[in-house]
């Protein structure tokens, strides 16, 4: 398993994170990684700069990794690659789950189905029988605290409730890997805080490996065990931080703010490179 050269170069000896990074490499070497991306490049149009350039990323089973970066860093492309919706131009993508679950920025619920119907569709795709589908959908809606909303139509649900139904649908895929593409970006701050709690709880309970893409550095530090900063044009991994803050955290915690400030500085430095 080759480690991302860039990342290791950037991390200096004085940085305490180098040690944790070392552990990460050890994880990466084990065959049981939940997600392994090695040397992945993605070119959509010939002659244009690649969207992703030599990306290496390993996610251990049960690990929560957040990807942050400015627009054009290829975060969403990377997720699409992991989800198997796109094939990489070069490099390898390995995901331990046969079909990782994916949550979009939009709830992407099907409006002609009820909340329960949306969850049941994921179960149907897995070949679950009709009777079990009902019961399992009810159980999963209970997991996201929507036990009473099963018969509601999508338009009758608030934005936060829709995103929770989407989470229940993702859980219905019964995958050990959950990919999230800025799932809370369109929500108001209060709802987002609550969903952070919800997600942190679900992650701990279900022992999922999560790859969470966001623009929001604080959100990344609040949720992740590891935060990976991506640079833009071409998208590549610039640096990563292990978040050793105790759970439960909140977005207001001093430790979260501190680390977020540090990552934001690095992000700004990275963005400012594109101005000249």
């Amino acid at each position: 398993m080759s480690t991302n050269q860039l990342t290791t170069d950037r991390l200096t000896a004085e940085d305490p994170l180098v040690r944790s990074r070392g552990e990460g490499v050890a994880d990466a070497g084990s065959p049981a990684a939940a997600v392994r991306v090695s040397g992945v490049s993605q070119v959509f149009e010939r002659g244009r700069p690649p969207v992703l350039d030599g990306v290496d990323l390993t996610v251990a089973p049960g690990e929560f990794v957040c990807l942050v970066g400015a627009s054009g860093c290829g975060k969403s492309t990377l997720l699409n690659l992991l989800a198997g919706l796109v094939k990489p131009t070069a490099g390898q993508v390995e995901v331990s789950a046969q079909r990782p679950a994916l949550m979009f920025q939009e709830p992407a619920l099907l409006p002609w189905l009820t909340a329960s119907g949306n969850v049941e569709l994921a179960l149907r795709a897995r070949g679950v029988g009709r009777v079990e589908r009902r019961a399992e959908a009810a159980r999963l809606l209970g997991v996201v605290n929507l036990a009473d909303a099963g018969r509601k139509r999508v338009h009758e649900l608030s934005g936060g409730m829709r995103q929770r139904v989407a989470l229940a649908r993702a859980l219905a895929q019964d995958s050990s890997v959950l990919l999230m593409d800025e799932p809370f970006a369109a929500l108001d701050a209060i709802t987002r805080d609550v969903l952070h709690l919800e997600l942190a709880r679900v992650w701990a309970e279900q022992q999922l490996s999560v790859v969470f893409v966001t623009h929001n550095v604080r959100e990344a530090v609040r949720l992740g065990q590891r935060v990976v900063l991506m640079g833009s044009r071409p998208g590549r991994i610039v640096r990563e931080w292990r978040v050793d803050l105790p759970q439960p955290r909140t977005i207001e915690s001093a430790g979260v703010s501190e680390l977020a400030a540090e990552i934001t500085r690095e992000l700004h430095r990275e963005i400012s490179r594109h101005g000249n």
């Binding site: 079909r99 979009f104 002609w112 994921a122 999508v154 009758e156 936060g160 709802t191 609550v194 709690l197």
Partner: protein
Amino acid sequence: MATSTTPSGNRAAESPDVGTRAIEAGLDALDTAATLPPGPSLGKRFVRSVLPPIVFLAALVGVWQIAYVAEVKPPYALPSPADVWEVFWESVTDGRAFEAIWTSLSRGAVGFALSLVIGTALGLAMWWSRWLRAAIGPIVSGLQSLPSVAWVPAAIIWFQLTDAAIYTVVLLGAAPSIANGLLSGMKQVPPLFDRVGRVLGLSALGRTRYVLLPAALPGYLGGLRQGWAFAWRSLMAAELITYSPQLGQGLGQLLNVGRELSQMSLVITSIALILAVGIAIELLVFAPLERRVLVRRGLTVR
């Protein structure tokens, strides 16, 4: 949190998980509390939607009566409303009106069902095959603007004066609209829905069955509605021209009888009946169907 003076804050701090659920339940209640106010009362709805057409019809009859009294046209060309009412009532009491409506409506239903099957199959085929879409797409769209009465002579030459000729005309009138409606409905399905289907691991067939077709339903219904309108028009055109004893007497043929007898009252009666059937089908079948689909999806208020 510990220094917070609000009791609820303390409670949340003591037991974070219960707190989350409580906050979540509160947010859900607040966010979805904005239910719609109750709809207008029956009386208001009557005043809003039933009264206006009645007033308009009454005004129309009034103007007609004035035109009759003023003899804008000689009475054989412009009979009085009372004369027309008499003929209309007679056709109702002697059963001719119902017979004509039944004949036409059953033909329309069979023709429409035929168009539904063929139009839907055509729309699906055009969706699946890019080549087919490119090849016949413009023709199918063009057929929508071709007055289907233009097919009547050809249909008579092929099938003589039989029901088959009439069905052919109805089919050529309605099927293109249905195919186009389905196709445009499918084209308007957000790509995100297809991604959802892929992420969930549905097969191509499963995505069509559970995602694409239901998503395209509003567009398809629009196509069906237009298809019915075209079918009904084509049917009247065909009945008007193919007049023969073994064909029975539909509304179009009734209209033709009025023309041949120069009986304007019967002509107006027939037109009124044709219009009434068209309005009834729209109000009793398509409007409720479309409303139901749209309301379910939250695409219309009520």
